[in-house]
């Protein structure tokens, strides 16, 4: 572990904490513009977080310690994920601690605690949200892993740093397996981040929501942590997608010139990605909950297809 690595790790940490709410704000801005509304400023998520942190936390009478611990666990899982995914550079001392499979495991751990916390107070909406979240999760997780497997077969490694190194050094051709995997990954990210068409991040119609139903009882600092964790999750997924499919611009080890350009490149990529996400959310409508398994099963099949194409045809 060298000084440079530690610095890069800390930069990645700070970048995640700052950029994640900004990304959410950016997506919301674009969504408002695309829907002919006046947009809130890009810093709106930060204002929300600050407001929530100042408010007192109202807890239900029956809430157990699980309810208070869960926000910290979820936040910790998502931030850890952001520190493992190569965002700015692949020279991260923490990266060997978790490869892509462990990354999926971390997301799943966060989901487990979030669902358990939602069941804790014992309201009808909480358990409903928990059940739906687990439904989305058990289909999205395998699909995500199939995408990861495809990428790791191409680069002979499940370590994200090695995947980025291999993928960014190959000549610029579109591999069919990666194309399938890319579509699958997009579908999974929409589902995992509670986006339209699977869930609606802006909804207040109780029966149509998943993520918001789980947070219904939360308030004050606990809600702030959960919201921050949600934007970190979106950031981590976006960066994982960029690392898998558009790895150009992420600095390799000891490449200082690239490191200087890494942040602007990342911001530019995220800006484009956020605009596309807002576009998708504007064009599509939310699905019925029992269409979601079909949507995710499609993603899973595409992932398996990507893996088969890679293994059988080597393409």
């Amino acid at each position: 572990m060298n000084v440079e690595g530690v610095l890069a790790q800390l930069t990645a940490l700070v970048a995640a904490l700052v950029l994640a709410p900004l990304l959410s704000g950016w997506v919301n801005m674009w969504r408002a513009w695309l829907q002919n509304r006046t947009a809130p400023p890009i810093t709106q998520p930060f204002r929300m977080l600050d407001k929530l942190f100042w408010k007192e936390s109202v807890m239900a009478h029956g809430a157990s310690p699980m309810y208070r611990i869960a926000p910290y666990v979820v936040f910790s899982c998502m931030l850890l994920a952001c520190m493992i995914v190569p965002t700015l550079s692949t020279n991260l001392p923490l990266a060997p601690a978790a490869d892509a499979i462990a990354l999926v495991g971390l997301f799943a751990l966060g989901r487990l605690f979030m669902s358990l916390a939602a069941m804790d107070v014992g309201t009808a909406f909480g358990t409903l949200g928990a059940r739906r979240e687990m439904l989305v999760g058990f289909l999205a997780e395998p699909a995500f892993l199939m995408v990861v497997f495809t990428a790791s077969l191409i680069s002979d490694s499940t370590s994200l740093a090695s995947i980025v190194a291999t993928l960014s050094h190959r000549e610029l051709t579109i591999l069919p397996s990666l194309a399938f995997a890319g579509v699958a990954f997009t579908m999974v990210s929409l589902a995992e981040n509670a986006r339209i068409p699977v869930d609606n991040p802006a909804t207040h119609l109780e029966l149509t929501m998943i993520h918001e139903a789980m947070l219904l009882e939360y308030s004050g600092r606990h809600l702030a942590l959960m919201e921050w964790a949600a934007s970190l999750k979106l950031f981590a997924y976006s960066c994982a997608g960029l690392a898998l499919f558009f790895p150009w611009g992420i600095a390799q080890a000891n490449d200082r010139v690239a490191l200087a350009f890494a942040l602007p490149v990342l911001v530019a990529k995220l800006a484009i990605g956020g605009m596309l996400l807002a576009g998708i959310e504007t064009i599509l409508a939310k699905m019925r909950i029992f269409r979601v398994p079909e949507f995710l099963a499609t993603a899973f099949l595409l992932g398996v297809l990507a893996l088969l194409v890679r293994i059988l045809l080597g393409a």
Binding site: V58, S64, E217, I311
Partner: protein
């Protein structure tokens, strides 16, 4: 010398267990003496066995002949790395289970405590002897002893008809399996008449005989392990048995079957054929998927865990199949990886499933309820059981940094190497299996959220639950012991794999550690650091640091004020505990998605019912698809045979006469 003393030591432990069991007969009605004197002593013996096994693991194999049994048929015993590993698993898990049992068994439940203590210790001793047996005779005697003693334990509350039925089913399947194992040994000895394992090892069987031996072993041991069509006894026997017995059966006894499969396939049969691996993979995947899908639909907490055990055995069999495939193509480092994953998962499952079963035992004692729909909110009343179960749940869901994740990770790493297989069909099939494994792992998370959430979280669904008492001291000790191993096995994968390594070295001729590095103390990298690495300690430490810092910073920069109020629930004030999801409700999405798999009966009310009732029952389809058909066929055949039995002596004399004539005719011809 060292390993020889280990074998002697293991035998001493077995003898001491039997002595403890017999000592219980001195005062069979004194539950105090049995529970508070004999069981803690027995737990110490378990510890000794685990230590002996650990000492014997790296050493050379040692054998001895014990002159018991029939004249001319002594017990051949042998302690090698494979036996030693399973002895360690037995010792570690049973130490926690036994100390829990010391606090668990109450007077006035079924069989007298002294007699039950005898059954329990015979069960433990028989399992240890199964691992040590080195000839078919000793193996079968101990195997049957294990089946019988566990049957008696399952039927501890033998006055209840359901429990009698469950016990009978268990005994039946156990014996069908035993017949297959016996036939398997018959095939393996290759007409030499010498049933020692040493002789079987020396035989070079042809493809047909070897395959027959393998399939018989898979069937026979599969009946004990609970692979797909033979799993039916598990969901019946586990709810019937007292919880420590369920824990012992699910955590340890299922592993004796895995031990048997590994012993026969890798040790006695020599080099396996590739398609055996495909069969094991297919059976394993079917078992795992079936188990987890049915676990999601269960409403009885012990049945849910029983189906989850079926799922985990499926995962073990998948790793077993992968190891066979790699061995068949002489890709030994990868075979070692798959075998390590298999053994690792055995140890993990032994620990976390025992833990969860014991947790359900405490819940059962505190509430008298097994039905998930009548539990809820127990985290507040039983914090010890809840927190230890939470660790078990994270492990069973296969999430980092627990132990369950490590073995699944190793298994998935094994799958990622299948691109190098020379057989194109296999290359095509294996990713499909990998996809199935991931689906199973993700569904396990669903099941575990249901298990923990419905029992421990939410509001109590019954009034009486508020009086639930947490587990007693001895029970807590048992739970804490198993929890500690869930954590340790998860945090120190490299050390655990170094312990396991002599087994692939023995069976495949090449271990994982000796062929290269598997990382350092804190970093697991089974192939190379560039290829894949995982460090649970780093994840845990950094994760805890982030959570702790976030906690402190929020309090320092902002505040830590909390106000208690009624739940919000979108402003709906009339909610009751009954409005929470029931167990059926939580499983409903899975039931809907996998509907063709279940045999579901729904009673739906119409809009005009004065007293609307909703009822749904889910049945195991294997009953209707296989077992009831076999039963019907058997009945039809026996009815035909019954036509011979006329009950008149003249007709029976006629039969004898006709037989005689026929035989005379045959000898003349």
């Amino acid at each position: 010398m060292n390993a020889l003393t280990a074998l002697d030591g293991a035998l001493t432990v077995v003898a001491a267990w039997l002595a403890l069991g017999l000592a219980g007969l001195v005062a069979p009605r004194s539950f105090r003496f049995v529970a508070h004197v004999l069981f803690p002593l027995s737990a110490l013996l378990s510890l000794a066995l685990a230590a002996l096994g650990l000492a014997a693991l790296p050493g050379a194999a040692h054998a001895m002949v014990l002159p018991i049994g029939l004249p001319g048929l002594p017990f051949h015993l042998r302690l090698d790395a494979l036996s030693a590993f399973f002895l360690v698993v037995l010792g570690l898990a049973s130490a926690g289970i036994t100390i829990f049992a010391a606090g668990y068994f109450r007077s006035g439940e079924g069989t007298a405590p002294g007699v039950m203590g005898l059954e329990y210790h015979v069960f433990l001793a028989a399992m240890a002897m199964v691992m040590l047996a080195d000839d078919a005779y000793a193996f079968m005697v101990c195997w049957e002893l294990m089946a019988l003693s566990s049957f008696l334990l399952v039927t501890t509350n033998h006055r209840i008809p359901e429990i009698q039925r469950a016990g009978f089913l268990y005994l039946l399947v156990a014996h069908i399996g035993a017949i297959a194992i016996l036939l398997c040994f018959g095939v393996l000895q290759a007409d030499t008449g010498d049933y020692t394992f040493a002789n079987m090892r020396a035989q070079h069987l042809g493809t047909f005989r070897a395959s027959a031996g393998f399939l018989l072993a898979l069937f026979g041991f599969g009946a004990k392990a609970g692979i797909l069509p033979l799993h039916v006894w598990l969901p019946e026997a586990h709810p019937a048995a007292p919880s420590p017995v369920s824990a012992l059966m699910s955590g340890v006894m299922l592993k004796t079957a895995v031990y048997g499969m590994a012993r026969v396939t890798f040790d006695l049969l020599g080099t396996p054929l590739w398609w055996w691996g495909v069969i094991a993979l297919a059976v394993g995947l079917a078992t795992a998927l079936f188990g987890v899908v049915f676990a999601a639909a269960q409403v009885d907490m012990k049945r849910l865990l029983a189906y989850s055990s079926i799922e985990n055995i499926g995962l073990v069999v998948i790793a077993f199949g992968l190891a066979i495939v790699f061995t068949a193509y002489r890709m030994l480092p990868l075979a070692a990886l798959a075998m390590t994953a298999m053994l690792y998962h055995c140890a993990n499952h032994a620990v976390f499933k025992s833990l969860l079963f014991l947790g359900t035992g405490s819940v059962l004692h505190a509430t008298q309820e097994r039905n998930l729909g009548k539990l809820g909110g127990l985290m507040r009343f039983m914090p010890w059981v809840a927190v230890t179960s939470l660790v078990g749940v994270v492990a069973a869901a296969g999430l980092p940094p627990s132990n369950g994740f490590v073995s699944e990770w190793l298994l998935l790493q094994g799958f990622l190497f299948t691109g190098a297989l020379p057989n194109p069909y296999l290359r095509m099939l294996v990713p499909v299996f990998a996809a199935g494994v991931v689906l199973v792992a993700a569904l396990a998370g669903y099941v575990m959220v249901k298990f923990f959430g419905v029992i421990f979280l939410g509001r109590p669904r019954e009034e009486k639950l508020a009086q639930a008492k947490d587990a007693g001291m001895l029970e807590r000790l048992g739970l804490a012991w198993l929890t500690a191993f869930c954590v340790l096995l998860g945090l120190f994968p490299v050390e655990v794999m170094e312990v396991i390594d002599p087994i692939p070295a023995l069976l495949l001729g090449r271990g994982l550690v000796q062929g290269g590095h598997i990382g350092g103390t804190f970093l697991l990298a089974p192939v190379s650091a560039e290829r894949a690495s995982y460090s649970p300690i780093a994840i845990l430490v950094v994760g805890l640091a982030i959570a702790g810092l976030a906690f402190l910073l929020v309090r320092r920069v902002y505040h830590g004020r909390v106000r208690r109020a009624a739940p919000w629930d979108c402003g709906y004030p009339w909610q009751t505990a009954r409005m929470q999801d029931t167990a059926e409700g939580f499983g409903q999405p899975i039931r809907q998605i996998f509907e063709p798999l279940y045999r579901m009966k729904r009673e739906l009310p119409t809009a005009f019912d004065a007293a609307p009732r909703y009822r749904v029952t889910v049945e195991d389809p294997m009953w209707a698809w296989i077992y009831l058909r076999i039963a019907a066929a058997t009945e039809a055949v026996s009815r035909r045979v019954g036509m011979l039995q006329r009950g008149r002596i003249a007709i029976y004399l006629l039969y004898s006469f006709l037989t005689l004539v026929a035989l005379l005719f045959l000898t003349q011809a």
